[in-house]
Symmetry: C2
Amino acid sequence: MAVPEQTVPEQICGPAVPREGARRPLSVRDVRITGGPLARWQRTNREASIPLGLRQMERSGAVPNLRLAAGEAEGEFKGYRFQDSDLYKQLEAVAWEHARQPAPEYEEFVAESAALLARAQRPDGYLNSHYQVVKPGKIYAELEYSHEMYCAGHLFQAAVAGARAGTDGRLLDVARRFADHLVEVFLTGGDDGIDGHAEVETALVELYRLTGHRPYLELAGKLVDNRGKGLIKDSGMGMLYAQDHLPVREADTAVGHAVRQLYLEAGVVDLYLETGDESLLECSVRRWEDLVATKTSITGGHGSRHDGEAFGERYELPPDRAYNESCAAIASIHWNWRLLLATGHGRYADLIERTLYNAFAASTSADGVRFFYVNPLQRRSDLVEDAYLGRRREWFACACCPPNIMRLVSSLGHYLATAEPDGLAVHQYAEGRIVSGDVALRVETDYPWDGRIAVTVERAPGTEWSLRLRVPAWSASSSLTPGEDGYAVIRRAWKPGDTVELELDMTPRLVRAHRRVDALRGCAAVERGPLVYCFEQADQEAAVDDLALVPGAPLRVTPVDDLPGVGRTVLIQTDALAVTEPEGGLPYRTHHVATTTGVTATAIPYHQWDNRDGGPMRVWIPLA
Amino acid sequence: MAVPEQTVPEQICGPAVPREGARRPLSVRDVRITGGPLARWQRTNREASIPLGLRQMERSGAVPNLRLAAGEAEGEFKGYRFQDSDLYKQLEAVAWEHARQPAPEYEEFVAESAALLARAQRPDGYLNSHYQVVKPGKIYAELEYSHEMYCAGHLFQAAVAGARAGTDGRLLDVARRFADHLVEVFLTGGDDGIDGHAEVETALVELYRLTGHRPYLELAGKLVDNRGKGLIKDSGMGMLYAQDHLPVREADTAVGHAVRQLYLEAGVVDLYLETGDESLLECSVRRWEDLVATKTSITGGHGSRHDGEAFGERYELPPDRAYNESCAAIASIHWNWRLLLATGHGRYADLIERTLYNAFAASTSADGVRFFYVNPLQRRSDLVEDAYLGRRREWFACACCPPNIMRLVSSLGHYLATAEPDGLAVHQYAEGRIVSGDVALRVETDYPWDGRIAVTVERAPGTEWSLRLRVPAWSASSSLTPGEDGYAVIRRAWKPGDTVELELDMTPRLVRAHRRVDALRGCAAVERGPLVYCFEQADQEAAVDDLALVPGAPLRVTPVDDLPGVGRTVLIQTDALAVTEPEGGLPYRTHHVATTTGVTATAIPYHQWDNRDGGPMRVWIPLA
């Protein structure tokens, strides 16, 4: 049952579709999300975010730059050297959106973009508007910071998405011509360079998956093998920045630019999935374990430093200066999805859930037209230095995040379930319908606001098979008992109408950080279900920075249908103190005096913050 | 007595000598430091640091670049656009060193440098090897990041030092020609530009003080007035970076690049000292109060961010990522010295002391040949991302700090005492001799290891005058009672042989941070006298990161004559726990388990850290 072994991989419409393997992804067409926050994000994405993104393609220079490269316009190149990638990510978003629900209104944009890219592309297949227009003499000469292969990777992903979704086929021609050019130069041509910004590796594997053309896979392998051998220059940010300090199989810990490391990991696991090279999976899992234990925010965010957009040292997890770039959350979901496909272990699905509902979800405003680049866990009062990135913005000079967010939201359905050797696994819960081969399931739930999930079999082959339901590690108890891999397995000859209920423990949780996390000492955070909470000024009786939670005080849950600016939510309230200490003189003293007042502290889900007045916010609150 | 009113200011040999004012600095020749750490630093500076610095002038490109500018050599410009300033600071260090104790061995270096600079200087007075060699068409066209006036400022300070110390007089000719050129362009010529990196303002005031040439003072005033008006471009780092976001008199808080802000403040107070413009003093004091209360490390260090070498937001004071650039400590001492001259308030001398013995002193290794650029309050275990700046280094690609350190050490005597309208004030305590007019004092003390200071009058005019002795705010009690300004005043007709004893409270202190300093919650630090302590791995029975201090446990003081690698010190020991918590999985949990073992924790003065094995270090330790 489920996916037959002879499935042709390219017929599955979704990102990251291994050609073989025990676990098979489902098509975004076959996983429909009909209710809950994920459905709302998809609606807002289609109605507000993508139209905004399309307008920005012209304004930001992404499309005009290509007209310059095509020799069809005069003017100055606009933006960064990786400006093309914004268009590619936007095209990918549109493709998944079209697959999810046909979108004829995008047809013209996709067709015109594909045609323009074809005209801008050099006869030899090379395509990068920045280098063609601004630095034609420097092609492949500045790989340490050129982003040429990074941009190519996003082109390949957009083209694969377009092919799987059935949008304009010319994009795949453009992509393959560029990929063939990369193969000629970097695989068969003897150039041992790598791109300073990993991304093309995972994209080349996907292009191989779609086309079956092995040189793409071989090039991805060579690029991964060549990393950490000093084959490109230092971009000025150090060798760790681009993970070029150690060979991939030898590195024990994630370092440098977080997004680069995480895209690289996605490519490493992709290569494992296609080649079976265990050394690749081993090194990636080793880094995952270290990363999760010592360099991951409670929201699932990654990157503790603005400086170099980098991870930072082990246990360096400042809430205020957490970088947690939106793109890093996306790349982390990509990586964890591949680890889940490779291993079937629920810990990867757990981290996808945490990242999705917190670090990732916070990146977009409730109305879908403003975005965070940086997702800290605290906003101080009276921002001065941080004023620029302190609130969501419509767009950015470096706009890597918004179209990246859009492509993930459009393809969310892909990450909910997989066909398994013995049946079907549900990894993430949302109201909707899941079809896999001759199995169809209906999922009824008010998740994540409520912990009851009812899965009803609508169609089944009659033979015995297993339904695997993830029981999140955050749930202290549940109505179904999971195995060591985090999944409850129910095996039977399912009949239409059969229902399984899973009830998770939605009791709010007060959590504290490991004692080595210096920046969070003496503080606690509130979680409920998969949601991390935060204390935003708009909901408080006292200044957020004065709040101290009373240990042991009950956490009271209050559903709210429509909190102004925020929408539907569930508040958590608790007894707290407002503590003030006199200011003035050095803030270091042998004796401290403080004034305290009893107040109620109110928390909202972190992902809903910054939809009101832009006041201070804290995820981590001192304990009184 | 003391300094007669008719003193010609330029006869006082030292940096920052106002032409008028109640408080008069003393000559570095007249304040001799003979014992204690300050004397040792001066000896090491002369014997090890300065010789190293002189060698680096050739290696680093500073001198070779000027040969290119003079047309006397062929080759590539080496280093940063502000490379000239390294040489200027080195020349200033040599000048004060020569003033302190004649140094004929430097004569050739000074003479050759002055001659080379004169040959490199353009006929119109302009001098900057980078712009002359690399970008001759961009002179004054990139003021937002060119550092042209910044370099000029360091030239002026070197020339003033040379003139006061009596080294090669040609340097002053070069400086004046360049200053006259700046006056022509930026004062009388109508160019309203300012330098993105403040420094020339304080230097121009000094050049005015030496020469009496008012256009230098007027240009300094115009540059201060023009700041914050958007007259130069954004360097790409934002307007706050260069304090160009608000007019100087309107800004309430220190922002952006810390060294820039602090040099600017020195210039602002210098201008007040020469013009009496109260609005300048007021705004600088306002920012000082905010800075001290909310953006100052316990070591006196400034700058909480690597990103932009910036201050950060109020109460953002991370111990691990504290930037605390060595140059910022120096600039802070410059600023506080001027505030002390302007107001006579001991709080500025207190901060000078804290900065000098901690943030500044830590910048140099015990042997004087390695330097910190960044001075954090914590070094984690197993540094990966921070490996580069994690230990002191002999030199840096951007070597602003080492010669800056040397010029301050050579001129330390200048900051110990002032002639006052009614006598003499001693601000900092060190074994030595202080001469001011017809007064001579002998200071006997083992400070800062011991709190007893004996001041003996060796020479006195016979009339009644006041001896003012600073009683540091850290001293919980003392044998002399200070006034509100922090000074104990003893007025009498002093006779040779008269002695005053001041005894300060050297009981070790356990201090905690203001509750708004999130990064230090639940932690304590140890201080004794003016010294901040730290817990370095080499002295511990357990891992530094596992230590937790037992509240209320006694702090035991143990003098050590010669701790290997460190030298003379005073250890502080206390009862602690070694606490370990299992690692693995996300570091956020509802329940925590820990294993504890009783240990002794041992602290050494912070400024003596990193002279051994490079292991972890913490100033702030969790309380059990």
